[in-house]
Symmetry: C2
């Protein structure tokens, strides 16, 4: 019967049929060991010249890296194999012989691999990283679905450059300029008034002329927004969210973390509660560690790394100076020069994975902030409406999932955490 590699351990002792690609082959002339993948997993098939008919042996001999094949044989348990099974080959059919595959087991330069992303996807590490991404995305959907959040897909095409056009991709929308969304938050807040708990999870865009391992021009962001949720509850939600996602990856992506040689220590230690420190405490810690930084300055990658690495698990930094945060953040009632914002910093140098806040829900205060920030008022009229007609305290956060996936997989660069990365001067294929 036809099956997949992932299902083989349910067919031990049986004769099965598989279709897939050759990863590599070792042959002594009388016995050949085929490493085969079919998308669901990898398995070794053992071919013995003496036991195969001529056509099957010829097929085995003609297999090159990435050739497609159909094989038949008996499934045997094999404790040494990562899959736990091995196939004793009975028949082999060459479906398509691949010419020399551009990506061989030898080392390749990053730009060569990037140009061949459509083929690089087949490599073991790339498959592992993107399987983790896929699992994380489903875990995110499940997290919010189970908590009765309503999915509100925010628009990509937006009419106004709310905070300046410098990092926006622009397009022509039937004669008017439109911009690719950098966040769904403004569109979620009205929906929170309709559904209470909402989230969006889609692509976002940032035309930033920066070329670092932490930036992509197109990335996916998940953003929950909750009516009547205040700052304390927001911090709990963010913590619960991160803990839940890490648990899911540890639970279901063990094989992928093995392929990526990910040390699980920090992931396993990342259980609740996460350490919390105010921005002011963070500044003191940094100063004590010898960093030259004054109250009021934003953290750079170095500061974030230092703050998070001290605890061996993610850290929540709260109560930032208003001046370095977005206009819509609710002031701290105890000290209005601070805002009720929270960043979650990942350890091991991965920096900010979540940024969130309670939002200003007082109409006049928000109006004042828009004016202070010299933002175009007409673009925010509908946003102000949410404070006009039955306003309500509310809070939300955003998480760029490539950063999160990079951290849990231990990958140094975001480009391997998304199927087709868009970077500065890099949009092919």
């Amino acid at each position: 019967m036809k099956t997949t590699v992932a299902q083989l351990n349910q067919h031990i002792g049986e004769t099965i049929e598989l279709e897939g690609w050759l990863i590599k082959k070792r042959s002594s002339g009388k016995i050949a060991f085929l490493q085969v993948r079919d998308g669901s997993g990898e398995v070794q098939a053992v071919a013995s010249r003496a036991e195969l008919d001529d056509a099957s042996w010829a097929a085995v001999e003609s297999l090159t890296q990435e050739s497609t094949l159909r094989l038949g044989g008996a499934v045997r348990a094999d404790d040494r194999a990562p899959s736990g099974v091995e196939i004793h080959l009975a028949t082999c059919e060459l479906l398509d012989q691949s010419p020399e595959f551009p990506i061989s087991p030898k080392e390749h330069g990053v730009s060569f691999l990037a140009e061949n992303r459509h083929l690089w996807l087949r490599s073991r590490r790339q498959r592992a990283a993107l399987r983790v991404r896929s699992e994380v995305c489903q875990a995110i959907r499940d997290f919010f679905y189970e908590r009765d959040f309503v999915l509100i897909d925010s628009p990509i095409l937006t009419p106004a450059a709310c905070e300046g056009t410098s990092t926006l991709f622009e397009t022509d929308y039937f004669g008017n300029p439109a911009y690719l969304s950098q966040s769904g938050q403004l569109y979620l807040e009205p929906a929170a008034a309709a559904f209470g708990k909402v989230y969006c999870f889609g692509p976002t865009f940032r035309a930033e002329k920066s070329k670092t391992r932490r930036h992509l021009m197109e990335f996916w962001m998940v953003e929950p927004e909750v009516a009547f949720l205040e700052f304390g509850g927001l911090c709990e939600l963010a913590e619960e969210f991160v803990v839940s996602l890490i648990g899911r990856v540890l639970d279901r992506c063990g094989a992928e973390l093995d392929v990526l040689e990910r040390d699980r220590t920090v992931l396993e230690a990342s259980v609740a509660p996460f350490p919390r420190l105010t921005y002011s405490q963070a500044i003191e810690q940094l100063q004590a560690a010898g960093v030259e930084i004054e109250w009021g300055a934003d953290f750079g990658a170095e500061e974030e790394t230092l703050l998070a690495s001290q605890h061996g698990k993610p850290v929540l930094v709260t109560h930032f100076p208003a001046a370095i945060k977005a206009f819509y953040m609710e002031p701290d009632p105890d000290d209005p020069k601070q805002v009720l914002g929270v960043d979650v910093l990942a350890p091991e140098g991965y920096g900010e994975i979540i940024g969130g806040s309670q939002r200003i829900h007082d109409h006049d205060l928000l109006l004042r902030r828009i004016r202070e920030h010299e933002l175009p008022l007409e673009a925010f009229e509908w946003y102000l409406d949410i404070r006009k007609y039955g306003t309500f305290p509310h809070s939300g956060f955003g998480m760029g999932i490539e950063r999160f996936v990079a951290w849990v997989t231990g990958l140094p660069h975001l480009r391997e955490t998304i199927p087709y990365p868009r970077m500065l001067n890099k949009i092919y294929p």
Copy 2:
């Protein structure tokens, strides 16, 4: 204790606290009936002047449509209430008094509602439609997750105008033109070679100068792609998918379908197997019904409606003329002027909800098709690579979810099936 409307039936006989918005109020001067919503649902609270303190009664009196309130009271079972419960009010606090809400229970014109989409979202029918959308989206994710598909987010920013620029949104990508994606399919096929079964589900864009109830400029599309899946299996997958989604909506969105006054007859009848007819048979049926159409012509809305309405459930139309379908569709081995494409047509006038095909996997044939269609070869080189290095039969389809949601909810226009619709000359808010 603080709770939500959706949870009230677990607190019958208890005293609870709720925060939400006033939908409307009826008052006799001594007794007031408040209809309250909190995002999770709607409930009636009964306020008696004699039992409330002055502050609470004053709050009740000051409540206007969409004012926010905090109420406390006892939960009582009430069989007449849609929620099954009613609240006997003990305390009421006005959180924010709303000025006259622009969208009152009276009728409003469509363009007024569209301009106020951020407020219109709060209306009962809009909430019902978007809750169905949210459920459908999760059902789609679950369908593929449970079947071991890997989510492959295809890029939005793409470097080449593969099939002409006329319906593409263009942007400047650091000095080069880039285009917003109309489909993830080309990016999924390489991933199918890595993961076997993949899908993408994200926003897609079509700058089409058409203003019909069936078109949006920005819409969400789900596209599975499966390695070693041939045409018969594709038709089964599409059928299983639609049946599964309808079942989920019937199972979990009963209240929403009630609000939308959706006749469930056709949905309940939409179980497997769906009728299948070839394009040629469809042409004969249309001609027999008096439609003037010749073999070779594409179906319009009228033809789709007629074909699907005869069966009272979705219909699969297969084996289209090659000339009216995309260049990458596999020819029918029995008749090469036809292709192995399938459209799923929804009944009740909703037309095509799914379009799919087996893809050409022969390198030279695909190359010939690209040339015949006068497509820019250099834009397809990486796509051809998938046929060069271990090619494999594969198939996939795409479903625009707004069309599907419009059908299951019985909504006449796509604009109510997406939170913030983008239509011709309509991109606000």
